[in-house]
């Protein structure tokens, strides 16, 4: 049994993993699931010192960083971390990282990979069914006691046969497509950065999101947020989607021109929306709070117990592998 001094010294020698912002997973699930005997977390956000002073005071080279979806890592931050060789994200999306700069500096990235895809796809499908069949709205109606006093609730719209346009046919988009086409008998088409191999992906491809919208009854946004996808769902796309059209967004709020979408919903230019993400979370445009044809979700598409367990396993696994010079579990490969 090591003496307290020896134990403390051993702790001192453990590699450190920098965290700049408190991971929501620590709060909502528990930090205890992310601990390891092979490394220690160093939380700069617990200090009042600015980052450069904090790092100087710490005095040790920082080789690994645990970044959340909100942890913006650009050239400025990377400048302060010359020894950084690994960023592990708790998000599947990587829009918070300056990928080009990371590549330039030889920094490897391990993302949350595919662990959230099923949950996000389930959320997207759940939101779509909710909007079309007015589940949240009619649940409210019943729980307010209105069924007995006011009569039947207005009819919804049938899902089978609906044309679904998926924007971004990555891991999440593919799972959404499978559920809706194989499960529910919808007809799926998609837009993506590049057309996929038709032998593997049987859905029709649209180069242009506006054309996809014109040929869809519902648009489901599953893409990452990049320069190209920022506000890709704009006034023209919404107009092309039309008065009977529905939007489901499980990507990032900024993929949509939110102000324009709100206007369309308020004025009946589109039929409804299921939204898990917003441009300025947790702020939700107040007009949406009054609408019955909108279903709102607090960016919780990945927040299931099962996903959090998987995330903990992946984060700990990736960090331990890195410090043991073993292959990462979910290394991000640029394509």
């Amino acid at each position: 049994m090591a003496s307290p001094a020896a134990a403390a010294a051993a702790e001192e020698n453990l590699p450190q993993v920098l965290i700049l912002l408190n991971p929501p997973a620590f709060t909502i699930f528990g930090e205890e699931y992310f601990t390891s005997s092979k490394f220690r977390f160093l939380k700069s956000y617990e200090s009042s010192l600015p980052l450069d002073e904090f790092l100087s005071a710490n005095g040790r080279p920082m080789r690994a960083l645990l970044a959340t979806a909100a942890t913006i890592v650009g050239a400025g931050v990377l400048e302060l971390l010359p020894d950084l060789r690994l960023i592990v994200t708790t998000s599947a999306g990587l829009d918070q990282l300056d990928l080009a700069e990371c590549r330039r500096r030889g920094i490897r990235i391990a993302s949350a990979g595919d662990i959230y895809s099923a949950d996000v796809a389930d959320c997207a499908v759940g939101l779509l069914i909710d909007v079309l069949r007015k589940i949240s709205a009619s649940n409210r109606y019943v729980k307010n006691g209105f069924w007995a006093s006011k009569g039947d609730y207005p009819l919804g719209s049938k899902l089978r046969g609906k044309r679904i346009g998926i924007v971004g046919l990555g891991r999440i988009g593919l799972q959404v497509a499978k559920r809706l086409q194989q499960g529910f008998g919808c007809t799926v088409s998609y837009n993506s950065r590049k057309k996929k191999n038709p032998d593997q992906v049987p859905y029709p491809f649209y180069q242009d999101v506006q054309e996809l919208a014109a040929n869809s009854d519902a648009l489901i946004l599953c893409c990452g947020l990049t320069e190209q996808t920022r506000h890709v769902v704009d006034k023209e796309v919404l107009a092309a989607l039309g008065k009977a059209g529905v939007i489901v967004n499980v990507a990032r709020g900024a993929v949509v021109d939110e102000k324009e979408m709100v206007r369309c919903l308020v004025e009946g230019e589109i039929a409804g929306a299921g939204l898990d993400v917003f441009e300025d979370e947790p702020v939700v445009p107040k007009e949406l709070l009054e609408l019955d044809n909108v279903v709102l979700s607090p960016h919780s598409a990945v927040l299931t117990r099962e996903s959090m367990m998987e995330l903990a396993r992946l984060v700990v696994g990736n960090l331990e592998a890195f410090f043991s010079n073993e292959p990462l579990l979910s290394e991000y490969e640029d394509d």
Partner: protein
Amino acid sequence: MWFPKLLPVTERSLLRPFLHHTTNPLLHSSTTSLRQSNLLPRRVSTAAVSPMESISVLMTCPPVHPYLVEALEKRFTLHKLDSVPDKPQFLSSHRDSIRAVVGNAAAGADAELIDQLPKLEIVSSYSVGLDKIDLAKCKEKGIRVTNTPDVLTDDVADLALGLMLAVLRRLCESDRYVRSGLWKKGDYKLTTKFSGKTVGIIGLGRIGMAIAQRAEAFSCPISYFSRSQKPGINYKYHPSVVDLAANCDILVVACALTPETRHIINREVIDALGPKGVLINIGRGPHVDEAELVSALVEGRLGGAGLDVFQDEPNVPEELFKLENVVLLPHVGSGTVETRQAMADLVVGNLEAHFLNKPLLTPVV
């Protein structure tokens, strides 16, 4: 996969004046293909001059669907029992004229009503469920009975899945959380993943199979209970509902309501399903011992419930209103514009076929 009920060639040719050219129904979405496969009449037109105008049809259910009411009023003399102040008096004075009844899930034709209508020839139900019709009595008296199978299968199955997702992922509660401004204070709590959960289905008929197909797309293992094991089905059969409940995460009621299936969800089944289990009811309220269900949910002995039907609609136990693991819907299983229209077309089409001495479209008896 939706399988159409195909009519023999002779019946198809008899129906030709009413119907579109036949094409392969498996290539089209349900109502289009039904329309083209001889199972639906042509969409009702205003030009049709009906020789049947003098036939009295009694609607025993509340007249909630304007399209159906209009279509019936165009063709027949329609009486709405709901708006009659003195029902016994009305039935007595119309006993010799009423030749058809239109009912639904709320009200149909029980033995008492059938006895009061000696000229009754046909009961056409605006539902697939037949629990409000005394089938034995109809058989005995040679009264035809029709319902609306197939056209509503997709919508009911979609709703079952929608309820599963809403309950496990707390979609309705999360929506409430955002609307109340609570998101500004912090994240909503963790919910339960749906994909991969075991779905147990009671009743593997059209609707049960459609639910299974959907759940499979979420990689959910499927198990079921049925009166007898189905040959050629890959899903795991359980010989009792309790056994099924003990071995699944989500239990769905998808069977017909009969005297045998009343309270098929009882205390024992609820206990077997347990504090992590979820019950989905898209069948009929009386499938469930509602008092037992309510106390199990209030006491946390059952993990959650998604309910579209209740013992005494539209009355719903108020103890359920505040529960965040419960989603309550006002019997909307078939509640889409498209499907209600298809159902109405079947009701009208069956009545027309009967009074024109043609084969019924979707007869039960």
